[in-house]
């Protein structure tokens, strides 16, 4: 009987040798005359173990990792096709504590299924949500999303149900659903994991959203830096069309929904929803003033629902399992689960989906295992390049939108980047300003000029020139950017800058400058 071996095709797995490994396994099997089926799954998101190989045995899927191509003959000798012992053997995949302790709802299928196999998707609960949605009126679908407590996962955490209802009620014959897949926040990779590991979840979520708000056309605005996600999405879309889940008659409902991928072109600001819409219209990605809200006048002036990939990929679960199943998880007004992305200087980086309320400390130590270098963790940046730096003294903070906001921090898209005690926080502050200067769309003055002036101020601070005066200027500049910018790019760049200054003032002194210059 043929044995199935899983080697991820996720780009992070490919980045550390999964392709060579897959080839080596097939070559070795052919040489030994072993009947083997090589399946290409997504990544489980346990990145320190990639490339992670799984073998389907009668006792379940047994994991080995990280495995190098040169380990393959030895693995065959060790009888890994029957789950045999080897130094890289990790045991049953579901029993790896990092995975076992999670509650994966949005990311339930990543790494489990072949992302391009629609039957595999269907066998694991796929399209149950759509079929439930088709049994209900649009306002009932929206009511389910509202009742679930789901909030926008892209960073703004706006209640999804309210946005959906605004688009649903907006007058207009033509409406759009847009997936914001411009995952530009450094430290973030959950959108990519979904698109590469479970693309039908996004497609299904968008289809349900279209039914709810009355849209017939959807776009996935994908960043060009994700060529693997692009290829996977294109193939999945073609499959969904062939199977009748997209097009003129969605799942036999008589309703039309067309969906296509549009590529961005390297501009971070296009992750801001109005800049994204400008870009989709074929223009420079300049932020629009609000109002009007995109929900009322969005793409090509029509009512448009823009949601992040994670938000949309969570929709099928809510429809299939009911709003209550989702709503009962979480903390405070942060309901459901958050796919947390743990990266940076950390021993076990990866995807951790857990209900809101889990503390940074649990994430960083129980899951992450502390720093990769073995040195003490000094700071984490939560919520992307515009998120605040959180010092070790605050690691007991629970992940909760309101708790973070009260601390002057943000959860953003759920990324956590860890730094050990060798990090120079003044340099990180400069980096944030330089990033803003490079990525500003230029429409508003606080962001366009403030970021560049900020870099100059930080250069003085780093060199120890007039430090006190410059820091007063930096605080003032930060306040101007925060209050006066048109969108979150200029408005939130002060978060990493001023949080670094507040929590790590010792890195912003003349003495620090002297030791920096050696």
């Amino acid at each position: 009987m043929s044995v199935t071996v899983y080697v991820p095709r996720d780009s992070s797995a490919l980045a550390v040798g999964a392709e060579a490994l897959a080839e080596a396994i097939q070559r070795e099997a052919a040489q030994r005359g072993v009947d083997l089926r090589l399946a290409r799954n997504g990544s489980r998101g346990l990145f320190w173990l990639e490339p992670l190989v799984e073998v389907a045995t009668p006792a379940g899927r047994i994991a080995y990792g990280p495995v190098r191509a040169q380990d393959v003959p030895e693995l065959f000798d060790a009888g890994f096709l029957a789950g045999g012992a080897h130094p890289t053997r990790l045991g049953p995949i579901e029993q790896i504590p990092y995975l076992q302790r999670q509650q994966r709802l949005t990311c339930a299928r990543i790494g489990l299924i072949d992302p391009l196999d629609l039957d595999d998707y269907l066998a694991h609960g796929g399209y149950r949500g759509l079929h439930r949605a088709l049994e209900h009126a649009p306002e009932e679908i929206v009511a389910a999303i509202t009742a679930s407590g789901l909030r926008g996962r892209g960073g703004a955490a706006f209640p999804a149900g309210i946005k959906w209802n605004t688009v649903r009620e907006a007058p207009g014959n033509v409406k759009y659903v847009v997936a914001n897949a411009d995952e530009g926040d450094s430290g973030s990779f959950a959108d990519r994991l979904i698109m590469e590991g479970d693309p039908f979840a996004l497609i299904e979520g968008m289809t349900i959203a279209a039914l709810a708000v009355g849209a017939t056309q959807g776009y996935i605005y994908l960043r060009v830096e994700y060529p693997h996600a692009h290829a996977t999405l294109e193939r999945a879309l073609a499959t969904a069309y062939r199977a009748g889940y997209l097009g003129a008659d969605v799942a036999g409902s008589g309703k039309r929904f067309d969906l296509e991928v549009r590529l961005g072109a390297g501009a971070y600001v296009c992750g801001e929803e109005t800049a994204l819409l400008e870009s989709l219209e074929g223009k420079r990605g300049m932020v629009r003033s609000k109002p009007p809200l995109p929900a009322l006048r969005g793409l090509f002036g029509q009512p448009t629902l823009v949601n992040n990939v994670l938000t949309l990929a969570t929709v099928p679960y809510i429809l299939a399992e009911g709003a209550e199943a989702y709503q009962q998880l979480g903390a405070g007004r942060s309901r459901g689960t958050l796919p947390i992305q743990l990266a940076g200087n950390i021993a076990r980086p990866g995807l951790i989906e857990q209900p809101f309320g889990i503390s940074l400390r649990e994430i960083l130590y129980d899951y992450g295992g502390g720093s990769a270098t073995g040195r003490p963790l000094r700071a984490v940046q939560v919520g992307g390049p515009l998120g605040a730096y959180v010092p070790a003294a605050h690691f007991d903070l629970p992940l909760d939108y309101e708790v973070f906001a009260a601390q002057g921090a943000v959860l953003g898209h759920g990324s956590i980047v860890a730094f050990d005690d060798t990090v120079d926080m003044a340099r990180m502050a400069r980096h944030a300003l330089a990033f803003c200067a490079a990525e500003s769309c230029g429409k508003c003055t606080p962001c366009r000029l403030g970021s560049t002036r900020g870099v100059e101020v930080m250069d003085d601070v780093l060199a120890g020139r007039q430090v006190e005066t410059k820091l007063a200027l930096l605080r003032d500049l930060g306040e101007t950017m925060r209050l006066g910018s048109l969108c979150a790019l200029g408005g939130m760049t002060p978060y990493p800058v001023l949080s670094a200054l507040e929590h790590f003032p010792e890195d912003f002194t003349a003495a620090a400058a002297r030791s920096r210059l050696g």
């Binding site: 780009s11 992070s12 490919l14 980045a15 550390v16 998101g45 990145f47 320190w48 990639e50 995952e183 530009g184 926040d185 450094s186 430290g187 973030s188 990779f189 959108d191 060009v224 830096e225 994700y226 060529p227 693997h228 549009r262 590529l263 961005g264 072109a265 390297g266 501009a267 971070y268 870009s279 989709l280 219209e281 074929g282 223009k283 420079r284 990605g285 090509f300 992305q341 743990l342 990266a343 940076g344 200087n345 980086p349 990866g350 995807l351 990769a372 940046q381 390049p385 990324s415 980047v417 860890a418 730094f419 050990d420 990090v423 990180m428 980096h431 990033f435 490079a438 990525e439 769309c441």
Partner: protein, 157 residues
Amino acid sequence: MTPSAWDETTVRRVIDAHKERPGALLPILHALQTEFGHVPRGSVPLIAEALDRSRAEIHGVISFYPHFREQALGAHVLQICRGESCLAMGGEHLAEHAKERLGCEFHGTRADGAVTLEPVYCLGQCGCSPALQFDGEVYGRMTPARLDELLREKGLV
């Protein structure tokens, strides 16, 4: 990608294939860059005419997006991730090493035209930091030594 020489017929064919799509400009620019390795200057008036927009507007869009370029790059493109996760794992050191090895700064091309070095703000490979991309292929857990090895494999040193 192998950049081809200027060829108006091809440019017109690419434009015609996309011009009826809503918001056609980015798809056209992507298709031209895939075809030529860059967006040839001479295509700007042709795009403007097809979309009934001004040449300044087309140029403005090309120059807004870091991905689009009007000049050909080196034969190979090496992009080093500048995201915070990569910086936390030695990304700065990796970038300095790449500059030294290639003898050029970011946005520069090695003297022989073989490789262009570019910064990229996050490749989404934060679980395998530091990361880089070489001609569209991603590489994680990079070190200066592994970068040298990669450049050797590609026949660049």
